[in-house]
């Protein structure tokens, strides 16, 4: 199983743990374009968004699972799945509240798609789990981001 971890700045420890468990793991990075982000932000969009096309292109290198940690990256992984890619797993690391679930353009759309259309959804902590339940009505299991065995069970559940 080839696993793509979509880098949000905090996946290296998980990548190491999965490699230690014998998995074929790649950290997929696609940096946002600062000028584009500034323009999108001024027009009220959630962000970052400008990295999405490159992210989708890089996922086409042939993975079985794409593991996203932000709602936008999960939406990108779902686009990859529609193009013939594999399973999409979303781990939410952000504790949601009402002020941040629909505060920008595409925010609600990406959040709702991330939790409703991913093949498996997890919460990174108990407060995140509670916030997912309160604001998105999703009862996601808490999966420790550093626990490779638990992550592998999550990938299997997505299949």
């Amino acid at each position: 199983m080839r696993i793509a971890l979509l880098d949000d700045g905090g996946v290296d420890a998980l990548a190491d743990a999965l490699r230690a468990a014998g998995c074929d793991v790649a950290v997929v990075r696609a940096p946002p374009v600062a000028a584009a982000e500034a323009l999108l932000s001024r027009r009220g969009f959630t962000g970052p968004l400008s990295h999405v096309p490159v992210l989708v292109a890089r996922l086409r290198a042939g993975f079985d699972v794409a593991h996203a940690f932000t709602a936008v990256d999960a939406a990108a992984a779902q686009a990859w799945r529609r193009l013939g890619g594999g399973r999409v797993v979303f781990t939410c690391r952000e504790t949601l509240d009402r002020s941040g679930v629909a505060d920008r353009r595409l925010r609600l759309a990406t959040l709702s798609r991330a939790v409703e259309r991913s093949d498996a959804v997890a919460a990174a902590s108990e407060p995140v789990r509670a916030s997912l339940l309160r604001w998105l009505a999703v009862d996601a299991p808490v999966v420790d981001p550093g626990d490779a065995a638990a992550q592998l069970r999550l990938y299997a559940a997505a299949g």
């Binding site: 009220g44 009402r98 002020s99 679930v101 629909a102 920008r104 604001w135 998105l136 009505a137």
Partner: protein, 317 residues
């Protein structure tokens, strides 16, 4: 005194959840309940409604109707007829009432069998970034207004029964129709400016906005049923000044083939559109960049209302 909050919901299950969360924080001490009338499937209803803490408290009931059979008027009628409250408050699934909302609405009622109380509705400050979108929908009503929008209002159940509820033949503007019937019946309207509902700011694509606004073509039915609505229209025909300016611009462009001076008729629309985002240079550039999309949207609105005028045989643009 029992109060029932009636909420029709369609296609916005997460916003409905957020509304329920806001209702769960209401400070009203008197007994109250929520009745949601929706067309969601059993799985969504279970996830959003049955598992909600308000349902656990016995405050939340819901009525499911067949998908595709609902309209705001029908759903609100089902809701208030199922109400246990002597007072019926209406709000919408894209709203976020402040915690004191219901308390302040109820506190403003002097005659619980006759008074209608209208609260203040404003664009949700938590979503103000979306006002930067070229096409968005939100609502601002400063009571007392003539239209009694059902996003923030309380009716006595007895009055709803006397009036027969909302006119289910009205696809849109059903709340306005009820307002005119209530006023004709001599209803006293109380403004409760401190009873605040925050209305969602939703951005749309241009095709999405055109589709969304096509429902306004049915306002011709409202004008046909209640000709007194014309007193609030621009020149008794146009729904707003933008529609008048757009109609003049179209007429000017059409006539310009014979006489170029007719292009001047498009100037009011261009000036209004250029000032839409404010007066600064950046705002002007943004407004000009948005001008083509805004023109398409408003042309579609006026065309839709023209089609509605033909259907209902009364002119409304």
């Amino acid at each position: 005194m029992w109060v029932t909050v009636v909420v029709p919901s369609h296609g916005r299950h997460l916003r409905l959840l957020w509304l329920l969360n806001a209702l769960a924080e209401q400070t009203l001490a008197a007994p109250w309940e929520v009745v949601v009338v929706h067309d969601y499937g059993a799985d969504v209803a279970e996830r959003i409604l049955d598992r909600h803490p308000l349902a656990g408290d016995g405050r939340l009931r819901h009525v499911a109707i067949e998908p595709g059979t609902g309209s705001p008027a029908r759903q609100r009628n089902i809701g208030w007829r199922a109400a246990r409250g002597r007072l019926v408050a209406f709000t919408d699934d894209d709203c976020r009432p402040e915690p004191e909302w219901l308390d302040r609405l109820v506190a403003s009622v002097r005659d619980p069998d006759a008074d209608v109380v209208q609260g203040l509705t404003r664009p949700d400050g938590l979503e103000h970034h979306l006002l930067a979108a070229p096409h968005f929908r939100t609502l601002l009503t400063d009571p007392p207004g003539p239209y009694f929008q059902t996003c923030n209002i309380i009716y006595p159940r007895a009055l709803l029964e006397r009036l027969g509820g909302f006119d289910e033949r009205a696809i849109s503007g059903e709340d306005v129709g009820l307002a005119f019937r209530a006023r004709s019946a001599g209803t006293h309207v109380v403004a409760a400016r401190r009873a605040i509902v925050n209305h969602a700011v939703e951005s749309h694509t241009l095709p999405g906005m055109v589709r969304e606004n096509l429902k306004w073509r049915h306002l011709a039915y409202l004008v046909k049923r209640h000709p007194e609505v014309r007193d609030d229209l621009v020149l008794r025909v146009f729904w707003n000044r933008d529609h008048l300016a757009m109609t003049a611009a179209v007429a000017g462009l059409a006539a310009a083939r014979r006489d170029r001076r007719a292009l001047a008729l498009a100037a009011p629309y261009a000036l209004r559109a250029a000032g839409r985002r404010g007066g600064g240079p950046r705002a002007r550039v943004t407004a000009l960049a948005e001008l083509p999309g805004q023109s398409v949207r408003q042309l579609a609105e006026v065309a839709g209302m023209a089609a509605g005028s033909v259907r209902h045989r009364t002119l409304l643009l």
